[in-house]
């Protein structure tokens, strides 16, 4: 696989995204809104330090859930969008392999999403530190568990969301259906969050975060294979109307 070819496709998508305001807004609004909302909760009411210690990791895990949501806007558009705009045929006629196209599409959905989520999470950590410094007597963020959550689990979850959306968009013929089915990827992350909240999988335990990350990494590998397997150029060209 030639990475340079995939990067050409990604660069083209980045240029197109810059002119698609709805994609840009979706990308930015969620992380910023969530960051402001979560920080606001911390400033509205004085929460005891013991309660904050379990609440803040849970809040940080919100960004893993966000990693399931944010790429959907771009990733579900990748293949279906090309087909809807009838740009896929000349692209498939160019000397690029299916794997290079999929990787390029994956990068173009992954990079803006992860940057937006990182931006949002940093904003949240700064605002949360300002809100909780008096309670703790020190800055809670950054710490090891949050670093694992944001810088390991969030990229893995983003990758999983991107790959799932690429799989879905390679199979359906409508952008809206692709987005609806693509959005289902958020369910496992929401489940982990709930299990964390009811203390079945405490999210402030480093080992738990590492195990979840390992499982996400395995799913990512499996999904990439599935995406390559399910991307049938002939079916896309002949069956989609």
């Amino acid at each position: 696989m030639r990475l340079a070819k995939s990067w050409v496709i990604s660069r083209k998508d980045f240029k197109a995204f810059r002119r698609k305001k709805n994609v840009l807004y979706t990308l930015l609004i969620f992380p910023i809104a969530i960051s402001i909302l979560l920080s606001a909760v911390l400033t509205v009411k004085q929460i005891p330090a013991a309660q904050l210690s379990s609440l803040l990791p849970a809040f940080a895990f919100f960004y893993v859930i966000l990693a399931g949501v944010v790429p959907t806007a771009i990733a579900s558009y990748t293949i279906v969008g090309e087909k809807v705009e009838k740009t896929l045929e000349p692209l498939l006629a160019a000397p690029v392999t299916d794997g290079e196209i999929l990787l390029g599409k994956g990068i173009s959905a992954f990079l803006p999403s992860i940057l937006a989520i990182f931006g949002g999470s940093i904003l949240f950590m700064v605002l949360a530190d300002l809100a909780t410094q008096n309670t703790f007597g020190y800055y809670y963020f950054p710490n090891v568990n949050t670093a694992l959550t944001i810088f390991l689990m969030v990229p893995l979850a983003t990758l999983m969301s991107v790959e799932w959306n690429v799989v879905v968009s390679g199979r359906v013929t409508d952008v809206r259906i692709a987005q609806q089915l693509g959005g289902l990827i958020v369910l496992p992350f929401a489940l982990i969050y709930v299990l964390g909240e009811i203390n079945v999988i405490p999210l402030n335990v480093t080992n738990n975060l590492l195990i979840i990350s390992g499982i996400l990494a395995l799913i990512d590998v499996a999904l990439f294979s599935l995406a390559r397997e399910t991307f049938q150029r002939e079916e896309i060209l002949t069956k989609w109307k």
Binding site: K12, K15, A16, R19, E85, L88, E89, A94, P95, T238
Partner: protein, 307 residues
């Protein structure tokens, strides 16, 4: 340059292209004519390695169309303009060409120059920084031609390149195709437009799932459409009428004008005219008329496929 031998494509029980055999020489413009659903687009898609073939074989510049290993090489040496031009509306004209230039490995130092040359040639240089979404249909078609030429391919496939274009834009496209021929490029043109095919193609195939005829436009008009002798008489008498009926030929009579459809007028005219003279007919004129490509086309697409 393009060879197909028994090329077949089936979608389940439906045969889209049946045992297509053709050969296109280097520098030739080949036109594939046929009604909607005849298999023209499927043929081009198979030759461009976009879809697989079900049977037969095909080669482009010696590379095997069915081979996974050769498909990237084939795609590198061909240019393709699909019926829906497939340009990125959210990108400028320049960015559209730049994207494909990079995909086709056109080196950085040559890419800018090539884009400029193509856009100038097609009167689009002034619009290079304009979003393609604002382009007219004719401008989009011209830009798609430029895109197909960005890597200077040896073989070009055009699927209905002038469909729904205004006459001026259609002429620009046709002139561009003729310019490519001068550059010795091989062109495979799918079209509905018989006049266009007549004007630009060296060779024409008429397809209706299977290939019904293959030859130069002149050959198809002559051999498939058939020809006729039109005899204008001073007066059509009953004796002449009886004499002509005695020849057992396919003819129409309108007043004093007799049109006789013949396989080979040059061979059959002397005996026909002899019969007319012997019946006392006085001939004002006798003319051989050819049929048009349209006559040949209609005759062929209506004809049942030869098993």
């Amino acid at each position: 340059m393009i060879d197909a031998d028994g090329l077949t494509k089936k979608f389940g029980d439906l045969t889209a292209v049946d045992r297509l055999t053709l050969h296109v020489n280097e520098g030739e413009i080949f036109g594939l004519l046929g009604p909607n659903g005849a298999g023209k687009t499927t043929t081009v898609r198979m030759l461009c390695c976009l879809i697989s073939k079900t049977g037969g074989s095909a080669r482009i510049a010696g590379y095997d169309v069915g081979s996974e290993a050769d498909s990237l090489k084939i795609r590198q040496l061909i240019g393709f303009v699909p019926d829906n031009v497939g340009l990125y509306d959210a990108l400028t004209a320049y960015d559209n060409l730049d994207f494909y230039g990079r995909l086709y490995d056109v080196p950085d130092d040559r890419r800018n120059e090539k884009i400029r040359q193509l856009l100038e040639m097609l009167d689009l240089w002034e619009k290079k920084d304009v979003l393609v979404g604002t382009f007219s249909k004719g401008m989009r078609q011209k830009l798609a031609l430029a895109r197909a030429m960005i890597h200077e391919p040896r073989v070009l496939f055009f699927d209905e390149p002038t469909a729904n274009l205004d006459p001026e834009a259609a002429k620009t496209v046709r002139d561009f195709i003729l310019d490519l021929k001068k550059q010795k490029r091989t062109i495979f043109l799918n079209t509905h437009n018989l006049d266009e095919a007549r004007r630009v193609c060296d060779k024409i195939g008429i397809l209706n799932t299977s290939l019904r005829a293959l030859g130069s436009p002149e050959e198809l008009e002559r051999n498939v459409g058939g020809r006729a002798t039109v005899i204008v008489l001073e007066k059509l008498t009953d004796d002449v009428r009886v004499a002509l009926k005695g020849l057992h030929v396919d003819m129409d009579i309108v007043e004093n004008e007799v049109t006789i459809r013949l396989e080979s007028p040059e061979k059959e005219n002397p005996s026909i005219l002899d019969a007319v003279f012997r019946a006392g007919g006085r001939v004002q004129s006798a003319t051989i008329v050819g049929s048009t490509l349209e006559d040949a086309y209609i005759k062929l697409v209506r004809k049942e496929a030869v098993p």
